[in-house]
Symmetry: none
Subunit: 238 residues, 2 copies
């Protein structure tokens, strides 16, 4: 039996320090993960990355490289974004432990990705928009900024720990990310047609709406119902 962890991708966006990419590869291999995806990385196969990868350079060698996050996660079923500063107002931010427990049962038939931003700023809002849910690692309020590889290690460790607890049964088959993006495009068009959204700056509301549907674990069948509703609305309003 292959490990459900083979279906997990760790996605690093705009990583600046090659040593961090290497340290991430090592922590992934320690925790039974193997799929590393890099979006616009800096020197991922260089000496510094290899030195920190220790015995895990095979993960660097097989890393996928993409020029955008949207392209990188197009085939993923579940996409989690990590945020260092959850803020007081944002709700429904999950811990890595909760994420791991709820994700494991999906992994027999679906792929999942956890996305990490760069060392200084974390993920930009445009990248968080592409994520179904946001997770945040519990940390001291006085000094919350984790090293990138440490953050990946905690997420990988929670997934590994959950994989040993669960003898999980196969569950549902999630809609791939690109189909979800087509739905969000259709939804935004509809919300503008009914004048719920204006044409400038729809991002903030769309972000909140994406979070709602992101949590809903949409399958192909759900998307066809929802898109059927949007089509009916557009037909009525034109």
């Amino acid at each position: 039996m292959t490990s459900p962890l083979k279906n997990v991708s760790i996605v690093l966006v705009d990583t600046r320090t090659p040593a961090n990419i290497g340290a991430v590869a090592r922590s992934m291999m320690n925790m039974g993960l193997s799929r590393l995806v890099l979006v616009r990385p800096r020197d991922p196969g260089g000496d510094e990355a290899r030195r920190l990868a220790a015995g895990a350079s095979q993960i660097l060698d097989s890393a996928e490289i993409h020029s955008s996050l949207q392209e990188a996660v197009a085939r993923e079923g579940l996409v989690f974004g990590t945020s260092r500063h959850p803020g007081r107002k944002r709700k429904n931010i999950r811990t890595p432990r909760d994420m791991a427990a709820q994700t494991l049962p999906f992994l027999s038939r679906n792929r999942a990705a956890v996305v990490f931003g760069n060392e200084v700023n974390g993920l930009e809002i445009e990248d968080l928009m592409l994520c179904h849910e946001i997770i945040s690692i519990p940390s001291s309020e006085e000094f919350p900024s984790l090293n990138l590889a440490h953050a990946v290690m905690i997420v990988a460790y929670e997934l590994f720990t959950a994989s040993r607890v669960n003898g999980a049964a196969p569950d549902s088959e999630l809609a791939p990310h690109r189909d979800l993006e087509l739905f969000y495009g259709h939804l935004q068009e509809t919300l503008q047609a009914i004048e719920f959204l204006g044409h400038d700056r729809p991002e903030r509301i769309m972000f909140a709406i994406r979070q709602i549907f992101g949590r809903a674990r949409l399958e192909a069948r759900d998307l066809s119902i929802l898109r059927g509703i949007l089509t009916s609305i557009l037909r009525k309003t034109r």
Copy 2:
């Protein structure tokens, strides 16, 4: 109230790489730990350690330095040794999660230390002898050797997480059931107005739609966005 975590020491024995000491300091401070104890360290206050400590160099500055582990743990109440290679024969080896859960209640009146060996060999048997219990971080059998700072991070993270469980704040506040039912009523009315749903037998589709939103763990704020959308649709179609 002072945090029980103030009574936890992280003890590093024979650490060879100053960068690791710095990275350990950072991970400790991220997780609310402050007491670092070094046994025969190499250059703990040097540039490399400081660079990796990022904003946590105060932990390096206040680190205790000892020439033997026995001296270093003399005043501790509970002493845990970490082992990378638990082996099949050793029994009673605990996980960091289990250690954290069982240690927290002691910390209001006792001190506890977690001891880590050097980067290559871990703790020697003479050092493990000084420990009350041995803990081992779960990891892949194929590649079990963790970076020292990553190992400390996992232990610190488990202690921090355990410290929050007792007084943990509620996370999100879900919308009460009656508000959800009002939303579904509003939604059904809207779906009939746009002729997505007929007036007889809407139950089957409504059931599928309820399942979608049911998984989304809706809060009051989410409901107000969704009902705002429904209101806009009805205004447009009447």
